[in-house]
């Protein structure tokens, strides 16, 4: 028994692993939170494209200045996010095709640059599938900073973002600057993808933007609860996935996504019952709440 416990606790004796768990937990929470808007806006493909686009910037900028590659990739990421956003807003151009061209070209450039010149930062596999070894101290701070900015903007712009997501035309007419809201959102999204890229991996980031959010959606009908649930599910999958990857000896991103997929399947089974329970308690609340307010 003590042997088993020792084995289970073994990974925590390594400082890099503790850091990895923390980073994966925060990453999962951040992507889970942003994923709510991604899923409700039907932007899953944009999230997927963006992570590939950022990979190009990541590879190119580390060649130019290895110590500043986060900054270079960040600028590249925000630029591609804004480009994708403006393409997506003009419906008639065929945004899905345009995104496909821009982001895969950027990804191909990244692969070519890494293959030709090698890499000075995190390894190729780490960038694609995520690795605990790819986490530098600078990235930890970047992740914390971006998470903080996301939460602050999410709270400040909560209503504008909700309205712009639910009903953009009416939001615009009601005084919400939808274009600016969208631009800020995709910029934050690209920075979040960049910050979580080395833990979860380019090819798997999109999964963490989608799975926690749809899992949360299965469990609740309320927007605020969906935000909270998706963040929690994302963080649990992140931490648990990282932990499991130690034993499975596979890239961290793969275990994180597999655990998230497991959570989704469980929610698929529990969903109807959870929503029924919520509905009956909401019913009760609606009966009680209006009374004192109108009195």
């Amino acid at each position: 028994m003590t042997d088993l416990l020792a084995a289970l606790l073994d990974p925590f004796s390594y400082q890099f692993f503790v850091k990895g768990i923390i980073v994966a937990t925060i990453s999962g929470a951040l992507l889970g939170l942003l994923g709510v808007y991604i899923v409700l806006r039907g932007m899953s493909y944009i999230g997927h494209g963006l992570s590939h686009a950022i990979f190009g910037g990541f590879a190119a900028s580390q060649l130019i200045a290895s110590s500043w590659y986060m900054l270079g990739a960040g600028i590249w990421g925000v630029a591609s996010a804004l480009a994708i956003n403006s393409v997506a807003r003009r419906h008639r151009i065929g945004s899905d095709a345009a995104i496909g061209v821009v982001t895969t070209a950027s990804f191909a450039l990244g692969v070519a640059l890494l293959a030709k010149f090698g890499n000075r930062g995190p390894s190729f596999d780490a960038a694609l599938f995520g690795s605990i070894l790819g986490i530098s101290q600078g990235q930890v701070w970047a992740l914390i900073a971006i998470s903080a900015v996301t939460v602050v903007l999410g709270v400040l712009g909560y209503r504008a973002l909700l309205f712009a997501t639910f009903d953009p035309d009416v939001a615009q007419a009601s005084g919400v600057n939808v274009a600016r809201t969208d631009a800020i959102f995709v910029s934050i999204l690209s920075l979040a993808i960049l910050a979580t890229l080395t833990v979860i991996g380019v090819t798997l980031v999109a999964a963490m933007l989608v799975i926690p959010a749809v899992t949360a959606r299965l469990l609740t009908q309320s927007f605020q609860r969906m935000l909270v649930l998706s963040t929690i599910i994302g963080s649990i999958c992140g931490g648990l996935g990282m932990y499991a990857s130690y034993f499975a000896n596979v890239p961290s991103g793969t275990m994180i996504v597999l655990i998230a997929a497991g959570a989704f399947l469980i929610a698929l089974g529990l969903g109807p019952a959870a929503r029924r329970r919520e509905a009956s308690s909401a019913e009760a609340a609606a009966g009680l709440v209006p009374g004192p307010v109108r009195a």
Binding site: V155, G287, V289
Partner: protein, 267 residues
Amino acid sequence: MSALLRTVDLSIAYQRDRPVLHEVNLGFEAGEFTGIVGPSGSGKTTLLRVLMGAIAAPKRQGRGQDLWQGQIQRRPGLRLAYVPQLETINWDFPVTVFECVLMGRPQHGVHMRATGTERAEVMSALDRLGIAHLAGRHIRELSGGQQQRMFLARALTSQPELLLLDEPTSGVDITTRHAVLHLLADLNDSGIGIVLTTHDLNGMAAHMPNLVCLNQRVIAQGPPADVLTAPVLEATFGAGLDVLTHLGMPVVVDSGSGLTPGGASHD
């Protein structure tokens, strides 16, 4: 009386040589109740979206400039609210009726939760429309009529002077259509100007105090008795329609021959 909202020589095209609206001059005054009728593709929805500000003149010179001519004159500080067509809403979106109506409140402040005042205002808007007991429900759980009431409640929370509605009775049954019509008449009585689009001539248009017949350009405008005439309807819908009178109300029917040769004129 000066208009709350006015279009001046407004012409809009999405593509060159394919005008959607052509030299439209309309004024909407405080407390008016206007129905805009026209066939599909007549520019009704475009006009409404222009009025509400979802489509605006291109800011930069050059690209797209030739697709937009004329202007929109809006009285400064005009409080405008819009009720979307129910078909355009994502009913799977995870919001409750309360959360949905709360969105209509002017978007200031950083509160994630509703303040006491907001809660009271939302509940009183829901109460006014008789759906306060549904506040905690998910939006999908409402009937068509209740969904329409929810968006009316959302519109009312901004205390609008002018209410724009896109096809408020499309896809609802006759009873609901009556209810919506009476509801709108009540709101109009309380001083709110109403502009709605409809393609339902007998169920809706004939009951409006004021009608605009639109088919890219304004064919006619005025009270139904003046506007709902065979020549105007033919020019608007491009089909032969006759107008009868029943209990003092105009009733539009297909003209006898059914397939009128030359009736569907292409200009």
